[in-house]
């Protein structure tokens, strides 16, 4: 058989194709293995942390905050978690309908969240029916000017800020308990972020003035680094122009936030100042000692969290083992350098933090504690 020039060319081409395919396969295998190994570690760690929670034979009515449609993330988190903990859950979408709905189905308790926009006559009318009401303040201490007058309209008050417990007692509330927020595994969990969502360092959040001042000092240390900042008001930065390409002024859904956290090697967490002037109603000047919900959300996504210290932090995570902390821009920059250079150490802290988070800090666990406080 005569081999034609064209056939020879075809065969050369197909050999070249096979070579390029093999090269791609090798590279892909290596990356896939790396990502798969990490997700295998994370998913198994999550499994190991799972502990079943009791289901209580009570009927809870949850009044949605009505901040979003159909559910704001926090409504989804609370309703989704409550559903696993009680034999009956009724969700009311519009707060105005809560009294009539409560009269119709007679729940054991009506739970409100946040409550800034709930007129006090709503809990009053429910209590007149002889039905217990509870509220969980989730933005303390930033709006205590307003919440002080609302709290007394509820039978049970829960606040995420340990420092606010005495405050509510002082304004006349009988049953007040500290109940921190948590994270919702339906939103925040380890995920394999797509390549274009990966980076070394990320900060998600608005440019409150305390944060802007801090980043003004921090950013010069991170000039060559792969960093992203996502949130509003960052044009306040002194060197905004220099860093504009790394800044995205937008809001993200929890799902997208989770992928951004998961795609970053290091996530910076910086609490608001209790006296931040941007958007604040805290004339009582109550300090803040409890970690923000973001602390739990970042840890749940299996990224290394570098957080500023709130007094109570050690009650939730062991610093240096389950989380890392910083007290100054210099310390943060040094720890970023360290943990980017020491990947094994970084992953060790991340997995410890992930385990602790999944075991102790879910909304389901918090709500279980709430139900325990309400019903024993």
């Amino acid at each position: 058989m005569r081999v034609t020039a064209a056939a020879r060319k075809r065969s050369v081409r197909s050999r070249a194709y096979a070579g390029r395919y093999a090269a791609g396969r090798r590279d892909g295998w290596r990356d896939g293995w790396r990502d798969g190994y990490w997700m295998g570690l994370c998913e198994r760690t999550v499994r190991a942390a799972e502990t079943p929670l009791p289901v209580r034979d009570v009927h809870v009515m949850y009044v949605s905050t009505g901040k979003g449609f159909p559910y704001s993330p926090i409504d989804e988190a609370v309703a989704g978690s409550l559903g696993q903990l009680v034999t009956r859950l009724t969700v009311v979408e519009r707060k105005e309908e809560a009294p009539s709905a409560a009269a119709a189905v007679r729940p054991d308790v009506v739970l409100f969240l946040d409550g800034l926009h709930v007129p006090p006559d709503i809990p009053d009318r429910i209590r007149e029916l002889g039905i217990r009401t509870a509220i969980w303040f989730t933005d303390d201490p930033y709006y205590t000017d307003i919440t002080a007058s609302l709290a007394i309209h509820y039978d049970d008050v829960f606040t995420l800020e340990a420092n606010c417990v005495e405050f509510y007692r002082s304004v006349g509330c009988q049953r007040v308990r500290h109940l921190p927020l948590g994270f919702y595994p339906g939103h925040f969990r380890p995920q394999n972020a797509p390549a274009d969502m990966r980076c070394d360092i990320v900060f998600v959040g608005s440019g409150y003035w305390n944060r802007v001042a801090f980043f003004d000092q921090l950013l010069p240390y991170l000039a060559g680094r792969d960093i992203r900042i996502i949130g509003y008001w960052w044009e306040r930065l002194r060197d905004y122009k220099q860093f504009a390409s790394k800044i995205e002024g937008r809001w993200m859904t929890p799902q997208e936030t989770a992928l951004v956290y998961g795609g970053a090697k290091i996530v910076i967490n910086m609490h608001r100042e209790p006296d931040d002037g941007t958007f604040n109603s805290n004339r009582a000047g109550i300090g803040a000692v409890s970690p923000n919900p973001r602390t739990f959300e970042i840890a749940a996504c299996a990224s290394l969290q570098l957080t500023d210290v709130r007094n109570e932090l050690a009650a939730y995570y062991v610093p240096g083992r389950e989380i890392e902390t910083y007290a100054s821009p210099e310390e943060l920059a040094a720890k970023i350098d360290h943990y980017l250079a020491h990947a094994d150490e970084r992953r060790g802290v991340v997995l410890n933090g992930l385990y602790r988070t999944m075991r102790d800090h879910s909304y389901a666990r918090r709500l279980d504690a709430m139900l325990g406080a309400l019903f024993g």
């Binding site: 791609g24 396969r25 896939g32 198994r44 997995l351």
Partner: protein, 369 residues
């Protein structure tokens, strides 16, 4: 030449996609297995008030596991060579002399030594590891011991009928210090792996699926595989002779599927099963494969479900055709495969370590307090 560039980049991209998927799946198993092993730190058992003299068989995978576990459980542990067990017993005066298997390397005066130990008032126990395949020999040994333990349930009645007063059934386990999840070197990676001697029943099965295996990356290690009719077809895959245990750990870890096929208990076929009793219980390898976090495809022994849930913690086959079909299925269904493998590991770490098993053994022998 934009067109050529497209072809070039698309062939690379296609390779990348396929490679990524396979790498992900394999990496996931290794990561999940590593985490599973890390979150099951070996339990520290309560020490039992018994001083033990252990006499190993020379099966390193079992002996090392036993010795490690006895060190945790027993108040005191000594290890004696089979040739000097009576002498050591006289010196140490233990509460119990525990012998593994008592075959092969054991000296001619093995049974006289046991007699002398018992005359000293020391209790003796033997744990048989090769039943029912060697019952031709074990029936002569068992009556010389105070207590007989066998890993094969079917032989319990046999020893009782010989007049043995105390007979127990207890499965072996995995030495999880040795058999554990690791990331193997690339050379140890394959689709299907089998490690073991080519006993005739194994030869028949592998001959029946040889064509199926010929297209896959296969690793077979062990002696006598030239018995295969399809030897030529599988020759490339066969590594003749005994494979060191630590290498088998790497190959279990590198295989997408590890086959476990018990040897036949049919009398006379590569064995000394004079009793003709069936094999109802599982081999130590069942636990060892699972301890690596490997996906195991095993033939069905009656006792299997007491240890692992088929379809969840490992998979089973009842015929060469079913074996071939399940190999095909599980090579395609990667997620199913890797989840089963990791569940099998978790079960092993919970229930089938030597630490757990030796605790059961000492309790069976009455040292539970």
């Amino acid at each position: 030449m934009p067109r050529a560039r497209t072809v070039r980049s698309s062939s690379y991209a296609a390779g990348r996609r396929d490679g990524w998927r396979e790498g992900w799946s394999i990496g996931w198993r290794e990561g999940a297995a590593a985490a599973a092993a890390a979150v099951f730190p070996p339990a520290v058992p309560e020490r039992l008030p018994v001083r033990v003299l252990y006499v190993p068989q020379g099966f390193e995978a079992i002996d090392d596991g036993m010795i490690g576990a006895l060190q945790l459980h027993a108040a005191e542990l000594h290890v004696a060579d089979p040739t000097r067990m009576a002498e050591m017993a006289a010196l140490i005066r233990p509460d119990l002399v525990l012998v593994l298997n008592g075959l092969h390397v054991f000296p001619e005066d093995h049974l006289e030594q046991v007699g002398r130990i018992r005359e000293m008032g020391i209790r003796t126990a033997i744990w048989f590891a090769d039943d029912p395949y060697v019952t031709g020999q074990t029936v002569a040994i068992a009556p010389h011991y105070d207590a007989v333990v066998t890993h094969e349930r079917s032989t319990v009645e046999l020893y009782r009928s010989l007049g043995c007063a105390e007979v127990h059934h207890l499965a072996f386990a995995a030495d999880v210090e040795r058999f554990r999840p690791v990331t193997p070197p690339a050379a140890c990676r394959c689709d299907v792996c089998f490690i073991g001697q080519a006993f005739w029943n194994r030869v028949e099965t592998f001959d029946a699926i040889a064509e199926e295996l010929a297209d896959l990356k296969v690793f077979i290690a062990g002696g006598l595989w030239e018995r295969l009719k399809n030897y030529k077809l599988l020759k490339k895959a066969i590594r003749p002779g005994w494979l060191p245990v630590d290498e088998s750990v790497l190959h279990y870890n590198g295989a997408k599927i590890v086959i476990n096929l018990h040897r036949t208990a049919a009398p006379g076929s590569d064995n000394a099963n004079a009793s003709g009793l069936p094999g109802l219980s599982v081999n130590p390898r069942t636990f060892e494969i699972a301890a690596c976090g490997a996906f195991q495809l095993t033939d069905r022994r009656e006792d299997l479900e007491s240890y692992y849930r088929p379809g969840l913690e490992l998979e089973t086959f009842g015929s060469p055709a079913e074996l071939a079909a399940k190999i095909r299925h599980y090579l395609r269904h990667e997620e199913e495969r890797r989840r089963i493998a990791v569940r099998g590991l978790a079960r092993t770490l919970r229930e089938h370590t030597y630490t757990v098993r030796v605790g059961s053994l000492l309790r069976l022998l009455g040292y539970g307090g």
